[in-house]
């Protein structure tokens, strides 16, 4: 039975130490009526218990370092340790966000230089590293689009067009900004339905949010037509950069006709996912949107860098300070190590790995889109429903064979699907091994489907009851628990 750290508490045990008190300090105590009256119910644990507790928990988790992790749309590539070394240097970690410009020239130069690199990669004119996550980047970009229309006196643009294959953050972001969502169908080739797009564009169109390649792993061959149609209607194009990996130094969103975009540094630029965060979501934009970028911005005067905190046209602040500098620093080093040459190799190898794996797996599943994919691809497992096996079961069985499951049931428009993204850092041998595992599981489905239906068996827990968790929520440690 897994115990929480709260249940491991033993009276008076402790890990902490504090500097010795000087007697003069003891004279100070805060007004009694403002003080905490109830005991602080944190556990009492020794440093050994703490160390062992978390070390044991680590063993109950799959990760990129320990397992193949082909989670579609998440770009689970190697997180190089040199990045962690860079981010741990005290010259960076000690810098206060409100430190005077002259004492943080290194930080400011990194922000400035990294934005130049990102502009070059994206084909955009300017940008910001402030957004703390991809979704906050989306929020920032859509706010900029809103202010662009407002500044032009174009007040009726209240609709945001979003394909039905989009990441859930796109419609959620549009709604947070007060936009009415117009959903665009995906056609039988996996591309946006151009007829519906044309019919949906009007003077009410604020913009189109698009991932390209999309969440089916397909590059839209009509992208130039799409961007020109949207622009003709007076709308702008937002590029969801979650799938930028196969485009690095190969095709730039700016050249495709996009006006503003974000990049997920924790995907394309290898910063650690950390169990779900923190990441970073820099936003890049065209010249005409630059004036709306959030504050603060870094500007260069001669050889000096400084923060600009105010601007009349900026959308304003979006974060406590200047964003996740520690994440941007890692990504900057990653970009510098690769150079434009290495970034192009990433794009090409991620696409080669994906197409190789897709074709190797094709005999076992339905392939809804036969054309070459980019960095990821969708397979359908609905043929196994007749055996009573769902794609969820296949995902759980994969865990038994030491592979993290792909993304499943996404995109929502493809029934019983898996979205598989091997990334460029995986070797052919790992991909071949994955294919062999799938072959074994498919055999199991044919011969003993209940084995797959009840997986996993080899982890610290078996299939967990998610319905119970939602119906009778236990969301924290309680004393009588």
């Amino acid at each position: 039975m897994s115990q929480t750290i709260f249940e491991k508490s033993q009276a008076k045990q402790r890990a902490y130490s504090l500097p010795a008190e000087d007697p003069v300090f003891a004279a100070f105590s805060p007004p009694k009526d403002l003080c905490r009256a109830t005991p602080l119910l944190l556990p009492e644990v020794s440093e050994l218990d703490l160390t062992r507790h978390f070390s044991q928990l680590a063993h109950k988790n799959m990760s990129i370092d320990t397992h193949f992790y082909p989670l579609g749309s998440c770009t689970m590539k190697l997180n190089p340790r040199i990045n962690e070394w860079a981010a741990s240097l005290p010259e960076f970690t000690h810098c206060h966000p409100l430190a005077p410009n002259e004492s943080v020239q290194g930080c400011l130069q990194i922000i400035y230089d990294f934005l130049e690199i990102l502009c070059k990669i994206s084909g955009m004119a300017a940008g910001t590293l402030v957004p703390n996550a991809g979704a906050q980047g989306e929020f920032t970009g859509i706010r900029m689009i809103a202010d662009y229309h407002k500044k032009r006196g174009d007040h009726n643009r209240c609709e945001m067009l979003i394909p039905d294959s989009a990441h859930g953050t796109n419609p959620a972001t549009a709604a947070m900004n007060g936009y009415k969502l117009i959903s665009i169908r995906t056609d039988e080739n996996g591309d946006m339905d151009l007829q519906q797009l044309e019919a949906s564009l009007s003077k009410r169109t604020a913009g189109l949010m698009l991932t390209n390649p999309n969440t089916l792993g397909l590059f839209s061959p009509a992208i130039l037509k799409i961007s020109s149609l949207v622009h003709q209607s007076g709308g702008l194009l937002y590029y969801d950069g979650a799938n930028l990996n196969p485009m690095l130094n190969l095709a730039r969103p700016g050249d495709m006709g996009f006006d503003v975009m974000h990049i997920n540094l924790h995907k394309t630029f290898s910063t650690p996912h950390g169990g779900g965060g923190p990441g970073a979501g820099p936003v890049l934009c065209s010249q005409q949107l630059e004036e709306f970028l959030p504050m603060p911005r870094v500007i260069k005067h001669g050889e000096e860098y400084r923060l600009q905190n105010h601007s009349k046209t900026s959308i304003g602040n979006i974060a406590s300070f200047q964003g996740n500098f520690g994440i941007c620093l890692r990504a900057y080093l990653y970009a510098k190590l690769h150079g434009h040459y290495g970034l192009r190799k990433i794009a090409e190898q991620s696409v080669l790995n994906a197409n190789y794996l897709k074709n190797k797996l094709a005999p076992f599943f339905k392939v809804p889109f036969p054309q070459p994919c980019m960095h990821e691809f969708v397979l359908q497992a609905d043929q196994y429903l007749s055996k009573g096996v769902r794609v969820l079961d296949i995902a759980k069985r994969l865990l038994d064979y030491g592979v993290h499951a792909p993304t499943i049931y996404f995109p929502l428009i493809i029934k019983e699907c898996m979205l598989i993204e091997p990334t460029e850092t995986e070797s052919k041998a790992t991909l071949d091994q994955f294919v062999r595992i799938i072959e074994v599981i498919v055999n199991e489905i044919e011969t003993q489907p209940e084995l797959v239906q009840n997986a996993p068996y080899t982890l610290t827990v078996s299939r967990l009851d998610e319905v119970k968790a939602a119906r009778f929520p236990i969301l924290k440690h309680t004393v009588d628990h």
Binding site: A15, Y16, F25, A26, S29, P30, P31, C35, L42, P43, V45, E47, L50, F54, L57, N61, S63, D65, Y69, N79, F92, H96, L98, V104, Q105, G106, N132, A135, F139, H167, G168, A172, A175, L181, F219, P272, H273, G274, G276, G277, P278, N317, F321, F325, G339, Y341, V351, Q371, P372, L399, E424, T425, N454, L459, T460, D465, A470, I474, K476, H477
Partner: protein, 446 residues
């Protein structure tokens, strides 16, 4: 350099299997006019060259040469060595959002324990770790309030809430047609209760107060709650969570939503991030919480386990009807904060908070003895306002000559508070350092 495993022999085998001679064949869908040529010159760096580059940039930062008294939402604290040792473990550093719970019990249990620790500290019923920082936690809390009072269109916000947090709240509400009314502060930096009374009405969805506020003062939250409750508006309490080691937590005060930034717990200053926002609230608001929530359940054998739960609130299920577009959970930052909360623990966290308080109170008292120096009255935690009888630029210059960054010149945020500094003291400042600060202040005032 790159981190690509496959080399020419494997690449050739893969191309052959696909029946193509060049990977370029896979890019036929990309219009020729936008496809970039393959670079011919390798402009990358070796790892050694990269490390040299980073060292040269690090050397341009001189901030570490100064004794730092800056705070204002980001605090210099000692970070126990265990924090880095645990957070750098492969399984925590390089896993993702625990979509497959059976393969993610470590991270899920950590988030569950984080939720538990924040609830213990704040006295609230539920909590999570999905907000990016203190500012985004403020914005999300206000959005929770507006969802629970959909007919109300007014938010009250203390003018002494961190100005960047105020700006982010305004940013998130920009397209919501909400009236945001700022409640001014009095001469001592504390909330103007007459103004608050005059603004509270049946249209008010919530009031957002920071305590300790931006100026370091502890607000009378009991009175805020007492005034607000008759109007059924929600009270949102933003705080430096370390202050709850010493001062009454929101659960004791009748607050509805407690928010703040976990940065003081194990997260380095890092020139602004990554930090982690927490949002904690009463049970009744649970289904309005944005982001990931972890719950306890059982497996097929009845063994305890943890899963992401109540996901019907979230963007990947609800899309445009979700409570927020957030899909982050700040798990690694939450882990660092959890470790520090546990390392100090039941006895140590109040002790750490008291140490912070006493050192700040000592410095404040010593400065008050110097003629010409002004401070404000009112209870503080680890920050306070001080005004020198000189221009801010002169004072900063003088202290910097002594390698002290004396605090934040408040007029950068409040232009009418010129020559006031916000001074922050944590456990990292010894009595000797504080006395040196005082002697520099004395020299300056002579």
């Amino acid at each position: 350099m790159d981190y690509i495993s496959n080399q020419e022999p494997q690449i050739q085998e893969m191309l052959q299997f696909l029946g193509i001679t060049d990977v370029d064949a896979l890019f036929a869908d990309i219009p020729a006019q936008i496809k970039l040529a393959r670079p011919t010159v390798d402009d990358g760096l070796s790892e050694y060259e990269g490390s040299k580059l980073i060292k040269s940039l690090a050397a341009k930062n001189t901030f570490s040469d100064y004794e730092n008294y800056l705070g204002a939402g980001a605090y210099e604290h000692y970070i126990p060595a265990l924090t880095g040792a645990i957070c750098s473990k492969s399984e925590f550093l390089t896993s993702y959002t625990p979509y497959q719970p059976e393969a993610s019990q470590g991270m899920l249990q950590i988030i569950f324990e984080f939720q538990s620790a924040i609830c213990a500290l704040t006295g609230m019923d539920v909590a999570n770790a999905s907000a990016y920082d203190g500012a985004s936690a403020c914005a999300e809390a206000v959005l929770i309030a507006l969802r629970s009072h959909p007919e109300r269109k007014k938010i009250l916000m203390g003018a002494s809430v961190h100005p960047n947090y105020q700006a982010v709240v305004e940013q998130y509400l920009a397209e919501h047609g909400i009236d945001i009314v700022k409640i001014p502060f009095g001469v001592s930096g504390e909330l103007d209760f007459d103004a608050l009374k005059s603004q509270l009405d049946a249209q008010t969805a919530a009031i957002l107060i920071q305590s300790p506020n931006f100026f370091g003062n502890i607000e009378n939250m009991k009175q805020v709650v007492a005034l607000t409750k008759p109007f059924e508006a929600l009270v949102i309490h933003c705080a430096n969570p370390l202050s709850y080691g010493l001062f009454a937590p929101p659960g004791e005060l009748g607050v509805d939503i407690a928010i703040g930034d976990c940065q003081p717990f194990g997260l380095a200053l890092n020139y602004g991030g990554p930090y982690a926002g927490y949002v904690a609230c009463k049970q009744a608001l649970l289904r309005q919480l944005p982001g990931r929530i972890v719950g306890e359940t059982v497996d097929k054998q009845g063994r305890r386990g943890f899963v992401l739960t109540l996901q019907a609130r979230e963007q990947h299920i609800r899309r445009e009807k979700a409570t927020s577009n957030i899909c982050t959970n700040q798990a690694l930052a939450a882990l660092a904060s959890l470790i520090v909360m546990l390392w100090y623990g039941k006895e140590g966290l109040p002790q750490l908070a008291l140490t912070n308080y006493q050192r700040a109170a000592y410095l404040k008292q010593q400065l008050e003895k110097i003629s010409g120096i002004e401070t404000t009255s009112g209870a503080i935690f680890n920050e306070f306002l001080v005004k020198f009888p000189h221009s801010a630029a002169h004072v900063q210059h003088y202290f910097r000559k002594h390698h002290i960054e004396l605090g934040l010149a408040v007029d950068s945020f409040y232009p009418n508070l010129s020559n006031w500094f916000l001074v922050t003291v944590t456990e990292t400042k010894s009595k000797m350092q504080l006395d040196r600060y005082v002697s520099v202040a004395k020299e300056l005032s002579v």
